[in-house]
Symmetry: C2
Subunit: 110 residues, 2 copies
């Protein structure tokens, strides 16, 4: 492999910032708790105390998980009186979640 080809290969991968951003997103998706949060949010907007009823982790763990997701702008927040309501940030990301779901459901049919 000559240096020309090496340069070519390197030019066709995302730049360092993009790679870092992607790594950060995937690492947020790597936690089972956060994945469950997202598959719940896919169904409806939810506040922390609702997650608490569904997931078997502490309120603190949920809160930390949601913070990770919202720092990456994968979920967003709306305050409604006593409650803090979380929802999927955009249709782009919702599509990704739906794709994951389709994918696992497909595997189940084999």
């Amino acid at each position: 492999m000559d240096s020309k080809q090496i340069g070519n290969l390197l030019q066709n991968i995302p730049d360092s910032d993009s790679i870092m951003r992607m790594a950060a997103v995937f690492q947020a998706l790597q936690s089972e708790t956060r994945l469950k949060i997202l598959f719940l949010l896919r169904q409806k907007e939810m506040c922390v105390c609702e997650f608490e009823q569904v997931l078997s982790v502490t309120q603190s763990a949920i809160s930390h998980g949601l913070r990770t997701l919202s720092q990456l702008d994968l979920v967003r927040v709306r305050r409604e009186g006593k409650f803090t309501i979380y929802y999927i940030a955009d249709e782009h990301f919702r599509t990704l979640i739906e794709m994951c779901l389709e994918h696992v459901e497909e595997k189940h049919e084999l």
Copy 2:
């Protein structure tokens, strides 16, 4: 939220095994080195010594990274004499990689 609705929400998230599998895949995609490996493999099949010329990590790190990816069946291996050639496992996964690429390129245009 009544217990009926809780049950409903839980029924519509992937089962525990699927969640675990997904978490494992995302966790493989969370490493910058492994992401770079995949964006290179998207362009052409490669052996370890070629990765070595392109990436600035040790041969050992590349080998470990490739093992992680192939254990999850995201990349596959073919022996060719002295060389071990790695390639993207299937079109399904290739599509995912292409989607990531499109996504970051799109962001760049803003």
